[in-house]
């Protein structure tokens, strides 16, 4: 099962979305289920008033209301709230067009109405199995509507100030090499170094030494700093310095404020 949806624009720019798996979707659905129950409960209270006028109207309103709320909840929210329901919002999920284009009303309608089929024979069995088998984690409604459900994780950067605090970074004495390091290190390599630092206390001491030695060798091969700058620096400290350069582009006191993520995808 593929976990990312990659989209390449005609301009040659690629971006990707993390696809939501069946478990996260199931949890979102459970939240929505309780929200629908709450709405129905409120509706029952409101409809009771109609009962004073006509019991026939009251029962009819209850029946129609139940149907409209259970069917219309997903349709209305996903259309007016950019592909989100309350459950999806809580789990940071969002429905989007499978090609990254604008979500259309007929797509929202189809994916929601086909829940009737996806939920067969019980507990979304057909939808769940299809979701597991689909390369884009789509249930039948998603396939018919050409939609996917993606995950928008909240950026949770580790506290770099705490992680890197109190250490002199000798590499910063060479700004041109510092810039070259930023240029040559790929995003994945940077993330790997960061994760190694974040999880260093979980590692076995021997494995920890070996890992940081391997990482240091790799980063040293990308940019060669003058020997006097690096020769007395332990491998772990070297990686700490590298992460400091990669993730803190200015000295701590002058760190620029990064823009907030765009609303639609936040």
């Amino acid at each position: 099962m593929n976990t990312t949806l990659k989209i390449r624009t005609p301009e040659g720019i690629a971006f990707s979305f993390a696809l939501a798996g069946p478990v996260a979707r199931c949890l979102a659905w459970a939240v929505d289920f309780f929200v629908i129950l709450a709405i129905l409960k409120i509706m029952v209270l409101l409809v009771t008033v109609i009962g004073f006028i006509s019991l026939d109207f009251q029962v009819a309103a209850m029946m129609l209301g139940y149907f409209l709320v259970s069917v219309g909840y997903g349709i209305v929210l996903e259309w007016f709230w950019r592909g989100r329901t309350i459950g999806k919002w809580l789990l940071r999920l969002r429905v989007m067009d499978a090609h990254g284009l604008r979500l259309q009303p007929h797509q929202v309608l189809l994916r929601n109405l086909l829940r009737f089929v996806d939920s067969l024979p019980a507990f979304y069995f057909i939808g769940g199995v299809t979701c597991l088998l689909s390369s884009r984690s789509q249930r039948l409604g998603d396939i018919a509507g050409s939609t996917v459900v993606v995950y928008n994780p909240k950026p949770t950067e580790p506290d770099l100030d705490q992680l890197l605090a109190g250490k002199f970074n000798s590499l910063r004495q060479h700004p041109h090499l510092e810039a070259r390091l930023r240029q040559r290190v790929s995003p994945d390599e940077a993330r790997l170094a960061l994760q190694a630092l974040v999880r260093r206390d979980d590692l076995d001491p021997i494995a920890r030494v070996a890992l940081f030695s391997e990482l240091a060798d790799h980063f040293k091969s990308l940019v060669t700093f003058p020997p006097e700058t690096v020769e007395s620096v332990p491998d772990e400290q070297y990686i700490r310095n590298v992460v400091d350069i990669l993730f803190r582009t200015r000295a701590v006191e002058a760190k620029p404020a990064a823009p907030q993520p765009a609303g639609a995808l936040g």
Partner: protein, 336 residues
């Protein structure tokens, strides 16, 4: 490539903010038509942000910045590369009365197929009840238990009734019929996702029950009662189920894709708007059928003459045929 990130952010932030504001405005006012200069500016901003993402994407630091630019590019991409029409001011009634018949006519082959499957089912049901006395008990589901008995006895009881059986329950009964029929029709359409097989089974089964009931009443010599009872709501309800079947078959055909060179995704995207129009169409028809069935179909002679109900049913059918086949429809309306 080496870039001075702080300076880069400071220099480009106005571009990002401008694009973000434009995107927000597009979302808030989907019917707004941008003037040419604004379109050109929008495109320029998109290209600039795309290029900046290209620069930052190869750059290890500032993952938050990269994510921000990705999200901005994705939103702008969705607006710029969307070739499906952007909705003008949505007029629901205008859309419904034009798009429903248009979709119906465009997919008329599937409707013909739905009719054939139902007729085959009716023939099967009719023959079964003609030649097998136990067919009714074994085929008719429990929810139609009132159809199990002898038609002549039922007619006699209905015609003898002095009290209004529906008195005080019309609205409830109508809403129950609407909800139940719309749910069944959605299922009929939706089960087309199983390569059309689910829809075919649903249509055939509906046909079997209909054929069984019709022949049962004809054999019992109660044709007038049956016509007076079924026609007022049936001429709308049965075509509505056929329209749902039509949608299911369209969906199944798009999935199979026989003789179509387009990809599965393209095929499904091609039928989306038609399916939406058909869904709205059969839902509207079933709301009407529910009202008629509750307020008219349940009344028989001597309260109301059968011929009056039959004429009413035929008038409805004529209006439906005119609406779906012959009414002049306006030029294609943009999607809502």
């Amino acid at each position: 490539m080496i870039i001075d990130l702080p300076r880069f952010i400071d220099a480009e932030r106005p571009t990002w903010t401008e694009l973000e504001k434009l995107l927000d405005r597009l979302h808030e006012e989907p019917t707004r038509v941008m003037p040419l200069e604004e379109v050109q500016r929008f495109h320029l901003l998109y290209q600039k942000v795309s290029a900046e993402l290209g620069r930052v994407a190869t750059f290890a630091c500032e993952p938050e910045l990269r994510r921000y630019l990705e999200s901005l590019t994705a939103r702008a991409y969705a607006e710029i590369h969307e070739t499906r029409e952007r909705g003008r001011r949505f007029r629901p009634i205008h859309w419904f009365v034009n798009e429903f018949p248009r979709a119906f006519r465009r997919q008329s082959g599937a409707f013909a197929m739905a009719v054939i499957i139902t007729v085959v089912g009716m023939l099967f049901g009719g023959l079964a009840t003609t030649f097998d006395d136990e067919a009714k008990e074994s085929i008719v589901p429990q929810q139609f238990a009132h159809l199990m008995g002898d038609p002549a006895r039922r007619v006699a009881e209905e015609e003898k009734a002095k009290k209004d059986r529906m008195g005080g329950h019309h609205t409830y009964f109508a809403s129950m019929l609407m909800v139940n029929n719309i749910r069944v029709s959605i299922l009929t359409l939706g089960s087309g996702i199983l390569f059309g097989i689910g829809t075919i089974i649903e249509l055939f089964y509906n046909g079997v029950i209909l054929g069984l009931v019709v022949v049962d009443y004809i054999l019992a010599g109660q044709t007038m009662f049956m016509l007076g009872w079924l026609l007022p709501h049936g001429v709308i309800e049965i075509p509505a189920i056929l329209v749902a079947g039509q949608g299911g078959l369209v969906l199944g055909k798009a999935l199979i894709g026989y003789g179509d060179r387009a990809s599965l995704d393209e095929r499904l995207r091609g039928i989306g708007k038609d399916l939406m129009a058909l869904i709205c169409g059969f839902s509207g028809m079933l709301v009407w059928a529910g009202i008629v069935e509750s307020f008219l179909s349940q009344y028989h002679e001597p309260m109301i003459h059968y011929w009056q109900k039959i004429v009413f049913g035929l008038m409805e059918l004529s209006a439906l045929i005119w609406f779906l086949y012959f009414r002049k429809i306006a030029d294609p309306e943009d999607a809502p």
